[in-house]
């Protein structure tokens, strides 16, 4: 949403002057600001709630803080990889174990937003070759956005699936929902608006959708990218991860 014609022009000129890294930083800052706002309002309310409810409130504070830390870690990992301070460490990975762990890490955040997470991994998937930390960090960042989007929807059943299946060029792993309007066009538009608009991916989620862009930057370092995918009547955002050819020969 713009802030008046004059401001739009000014904002656009300013945004064009930003590098890709700076736009990612703006997106991250917007994401963390939103969490800080949630925490500030929770703390303000804490003083006037009964002690039993306070324990629940501390749990929310903890889960929100940890979700924000996941985003920040994803961002710093991207910057290190892009700056050459760190290198991807490619190794054979079992997709099932990677996704199970990712789901476990995101569950506290999803619980706070009353969203169910479900794992849907196709049987007999071959191992992939990638960097475990990078792929997991990307899936966590992306998962936060999908969970938030599902929580903001008017769907009666709020479930997000972490799924993986075999694709033409490898294993397609990502987050899927049955009721969110995801399209390749909207993703393209979101990429262009990243760091410029407050809601670059407004078709999917209110807010900065920082997790999408952090995930995309991370995946870029292991030579893949996000795309809109379909699986079991659900649409999602996923990445294609290359198969580990050596282990296939064995």
């Amino acid at each position: 949403m713009g802030t008046g014609e004059g401001n739009d022009v000014q904002q656009s000129t300013w945004a064009k002057a930003l590098s890709g890294q700076e736009r990612l930083f703006v997106s991250l800052a917007d994401g963390v600001s939103h969490t800080m706002l949630q925490l500030a309002r929770l703390s303000e309310q804490a003083g006037s709630t009964p002690r039993g409810t306070q324990a629940e409130r501390w749990q929310i504070v903890r889960d929100l803080s940890e979700a924000s830390l996941q985003l920040l870690e994803g961002y710093t990992l991207t910057m290190r990889l892009q700056g050459g301070v760190a290198q991807p460490e490619l190794e054979p990975l079992t997709v099932g174990s990677l996704l199970t762990e990712t789901k476990r890490l995101l569950e506290p955040y999803a619980r706070q937003l009353s969203v169910q997470l479900a794992l849907d991994v196709a049987h007999g998937l071959e191992p992939i070759i990638s960097d475990r930390s990078i792929v997991q960090s990307a899936l966590l960042s992306l998962g936060q956005v999908m969970v938030t989007a599902q929580a903001q929807s008017d769907a009666a059943e709020r479930t997000v699936y972490l799924g993986a299946h075999k694709g033409r060029y490898g294993v397609v792993a990502g987050w899927y929902c049955q009721n969110l309007p995801l399209s390749a066009d909207a993703l393209r538009r979101a990429r262009k608006l990243q760091g410029q608009a407050q809601q670059p991916y407004s078709q999917l989620v209110g807010g900065p959708a920082s997790g999408v862009f952090i995930a995309e930057s991370l995946l870029h370092t292991v030579s893949t990218k996000l795309h809109v995918a379909r699986y079991h009547n659900a649409t999602g955002l996923a990445a294609t991860l290359p198969l580990c050819n050596q282990l296939q020969l064995v």
Binding site: Q112, Q152, D154
Partner: protein, 128 residues
Amino acid sequence: MRVLLVEPDVLLGRSYGEALTQDKHTVDHVRTAQDAVQAADAHKPDVVVVNIDMPRHNGVEFLYEFTSYNEWQGTPVLVLASQLNHDLAERTVVRDQLGVREVLVRSRTGLQDLCRAVRAVGQADESA
């Protein structure tokens, strides 16, 4: 007063809702524009508090839709906006046409500030 709170963020909505309830208001918290219209249809609100930074619909579009119904015209509206969208919501045309009484910047509006703004709307309506 009956407050229709339109806030897509579950956690912020919960905080705002609890604070307004403690301030003796009846709160209908909804997350989407569609649900807001249905909630207003079920129980006419005395005041609408809306976060204009909504996914899919934006809050200004929602207010245009809301005020297109005769029975809801004149319902006072308090807008919660990000700092960036504050100017848009403050525009005179938007305020006049959509019954916006006050635009509150989210990051600078604590729960007590929100309660105070809702009370002020009620007092203004009583004295009018």
